[in-house]
């Protein structure tokens, strides 16, 4: 049987991807950020999953103009890196695990999630920057990836509670997949940031750190943070943290926090990152 063995959460700032691609990781601005990922790069060597279910949001690359799904599950065989305006990131193609994706899709619909199936799309920095941070500069990603995109932009966006339930349902779906697979769930995005208006550059270290404190062992409290509260406290794009909730719920009750990292800033954003192992 398949099982969810652990999870990773991380911010997915495009500028981090650019620094990675341009070999700037040793520059004074970027070095302390990339050092925050030294742990996970070692950890993943002993904990390479067969499949990552990667929860992220699309940034007007594939899913925000004509069709805006609340929850979109990748159903294509592979996903190319999107050209977000400065060329495609030179990273490997993301390859899907179609059998698990089909199983998860079916179980989620049985569990009354109204997911959208994506037969063709490019994946943007929300998906590829975390892969680079964890796996480094590789020829091929060492595992399959099922991308699951969440609408965090066009109103209305899903609640924290709904995201939590989705994570639980993903956990149940993986558990009932008959093949023996080691699955991780990653949540990307956040932490506090605002990319618009006279309030641009907002960072709320207190909010972010409280979120990190509660996420491991008291995540229930985080479910009830509304979009309004994210907007007020963590900026217009701070709501990306709901992707972390999906990851956390997919891991079940007990987790061990293997690593935590927080730093301000990367470009406009506070960078947060955790590594959890499931206990159950």
């Amino acid at each position: 049987m398949a099982r969810i063995s652990g999870g990773i959460a991380t911010s997915h700032v495009p500028a981090i991807g650019a620094a990675f691609d341009l070999g700037k990781t040793e520059e004074p601005y970027w070095k302390p950020i990339f050092e925050g990922y030294e742990y996970v790069k070692e950890w993943i060597k002993d904990n390479t999953p067969d499949v990552v279910i990667l929860i992220y949001n699309d940034h007007a690359s594939s899913l925000m103009l004509d069709i805006v799904p609340t929850f979109a599950l990748g159903f294509a065989e592979k996903f190319e890196s999107a050209d977000e305006g400065w060329g495609r990131r030179p990273v490997p193609v993301v390859e899907n695990h179609l059998d698990l994706a089909a199983h998860v899709a079916e179980q989620l619909v049985i569990d009354e999630f109204d997911i959208t199936l994506i037969n063709e799309m490019d994946v943007d920095h929300g998906c590829t920057v975390p892969l680079s941070l964890v796996f480094g500069d590789v020829e091929e990603w060492p595992c399959k990836v099922i991308p699951l995109a969440v609408n965090v932009t066009q109103f209305p966006t899903p609640s924290g509670e709904r995201c939590w339930k989705l994570g639980e349902a993903i956990r149940n779906a993986v558990k009932t997949f008959p093949e023996d697979l080691n699955v991780q769930v990653w949540g990307t995005g956040g932490m506090s940031h605002q990319l618009q208006g006279t309030r641009a550059g907002l960072i709320n270290e207190e909010f972010d750190n409280r979120f990190l404190d509660l996420l491991a062992h008291e995540p229930e409290e985080l479910k009830y943070i509304t979009r309004l509260e994210y907007l007020r406290e963590a900026g217009t794009e701070g709501i990306e943290m709901i992707m972390w909730l999906i990851m956390r719920a997919a891991l079940g009750y007990g987790v061990e926090e293997k690593h935590r990292f927080y730093r301000v800033p990367a470009s406009n954003t506070a960078v947060g990152h955790v590594v959890y192992e499931s206990k159950s």
């Binding site: 103009l65 641009a200 960072i203 509304t226 309004l228 406290e233 470009s267």
Partner: protein
Amino acid sequence: MPRTRLYSLDELDDIPGTKVFRARESRQAYHLHKFCMSLMKEENRKAFKEDERGYLDQYAMTEEQKEAVLERNLTKLIDLGGNMYFLVKIASTDGWSAQKAVSSMSGMSAEEYAQMMLAGGRSPEGLRSIRDKN
């Protein structure tokens, strides 16, 4: 039983210097955003840079939106319905960093903004609610 709203939608307008991307904005900026997404191809970026006005005229954007694009006035584009995830593609086409693009709306110079970020970013104190002034 239906769930009840956790907050009134009017509260989305109560946050200083902030515009939430709703159905109205999504309609208002549809063609502007179509233009932005066209910049996800190198040949389109080239065509845009060679003749900005001519390129924009292919899209059913309002004149105001076109002028704001020509001026790179992101504040105005947000006001005209734009969302930054689309608009940042204009900045990328220009070779601007996301930080420079975002700073252009902040009421500070790019340098001041960069310094503020290095010093820990903008504090939310006083910027949570227009009404409550907190």
